[in-house]
């Protein structure tokens, strides 16, 4: 379609494609701009909290949601959106190829990106022992010793996954207690291959062309040097809120887009959903729910309904 879309959705993870599905049901002309289809859920092979499906891989869940959305025939552009501006009647979005699209409303579903530790050795040894995706690169550590750095639910899930290959997995966490869902925490504590090293920071990744050891901020078993074959960094994620920033939408101190009960942002006609929003519990089902709300509220807004 050329001309002005009713809604432009930026992002093609769980939230973006859920919004595309629902906008289709509401008969809105829909554009979805996506840099990398599937998004963050691709990082896990084991989703067991999507209602109605006891267990599914992240890849299959993402594919199912995308296929469902495509039933409603949204226009999909595979590109990064680099510029978003307010126009007289709506919004203009420009992608990295310089193409510009117009829409009357905007749903931001840009998710989040892996956060780095920003310590010496991290960039130099990336994929040479230092990794951020257990599902992709865990296979290289069969019968080896590895460290997962972080203490969140995602870090716990990465550690559990890595025990399939590794001989030993250390979870190195700066806090006192790992912050995982109780069900995942139970699994970690019951797993003999996993050992938690708490109240400890990693200061450096060291090695000559490949990771050989971590340098810790305090001794573990008498030494600050911690020998490992590989390390997986899972210390949380940062919201991809650059476009929201350009639009002057209100962000919280973490850079997440602030939304209300209707998935509305501080700018009329702009909605947000999923991991880019300031939701306290970032799970696929939460993002999908917010996406449906955002779609419905965009629909009402287009009908001139005031709240």
């Amino acid at each position: 379609m050329s001309g002005t879309y009713d809604v432009a959705i930026i992002g093609g993870g769980v939230a973006g494609f859920s919004a595309a599905m629902y906008c289709g049901r509401l008969k809105l002309s829909t554009l979805l701009i996506v840099e990398s289809r599937g998004g963050t859920i691709l990082l896990t092979n084991h989703v067991t909290n999507w209602p109605g499906i006891k267990a599914i891989s992240g890849m299959d869940l993402a594919t199912n949601i995308e296929e469902h959305a495509k039933e409603y025939k949204p226009d999909i552009v595979d590109a990064k959106a680099v510029k978003a501006e307010k126009t007289k009647d709506g919004f203009s979005i420009t992608d990295a190829d310089g193409k510009t699209y117009l829409s009357r409303t905007l749903i931001l579903a840009t998710g989040s990106a892996t956060r780095k530790l920003n310590i010496p050795g991290e960039n130099e040894l990336e994929n040479k022992g230092v990794h951020s995706c257990a599902l992709c690169d865990g296979v290289f550590y069969r019968d080896k010793t590895i460290a997962v750095i972080g203490g969140s639910d995602s870090a716990v899930k990465e550690a559990l996954l890595l025990t399939q290959w590794a001989m030993k997995v250390y979870m190195i966490y700066r806090g006192e207690k790992v912050r995982a869902e109780p069900i995942n925490l139970e699994r970690v504590l019951a797993n003999e291959k996993i050992e938690i090293v708490n109240n400890t920071n990693v200061k450096e990744f060291a090695g000559n062309g490949k990771l050989e050891k971590l340098i810790l901020d305090k001794p573990y078993k008498g030494s600050n040097e911690f020998k490992v074959d590989g390390a997986f960094v899972e210390i949380g994620r940062t919201p991809n809120s650059e476009l929201a920033r350009q639009l002057g939408v209100k962000l919280n101190e973490k850079g997440e887009v602030m939304i209300n009960r209707h998935a509305e942002t501080s700018a009329p006609g702009v909605y947000a959903c999923g991991d880019v929003a300031d939701t306290i519990f970032k799970q696929a089902i939460v993002g999908a729910g917010e996406a449906v709300l955002a779609s419905y509220c965009a629909y009402e807004y287009l009908q001139g309904k005031k709240r």
Binding site: N127, K128, H131, C136, V139, F140
Partner: protein, 80 residues
């Protein structure tokens, strides 16, 4: 393009490996998969070929492309 030798180093669970494989399948371009999870020989080989331990790695003749990097793959294949 038809006579270029294409190898995709991959593993069963690696999502971006599947995307790389789907890319060649969708374009009906013949390629060989080397599963580094199923065969230790390929795990060692991919490290030698690419100097790192991340997958997918796509080898197109002499071009070694790390990750599912569509622009680089298209360039190596001479596709628009």
């Amino acid at each position: 393009m038809a006579d270029k030798k294409i190898i995709v180093y991959s593993a069963e669970w690696c999502p971006w490996c599947h995307k790389a494989i789907d890319f060649f399948k969708a374009k009906k371009i013949p390629f060989e998969v080397r599963d580094v999870g199923a065969d230790q020989k390929y795990a060692a080989e991919v490290q030698q070929v690419s100097g790192q331990t991340g997958i997918p790695v796509v080898v197109i003749d002499k071009d070694v492309i790390i990750g599912f990097n569509q622009p680089a793959i298209k360039k190596a294949l001479g596709l628009p």
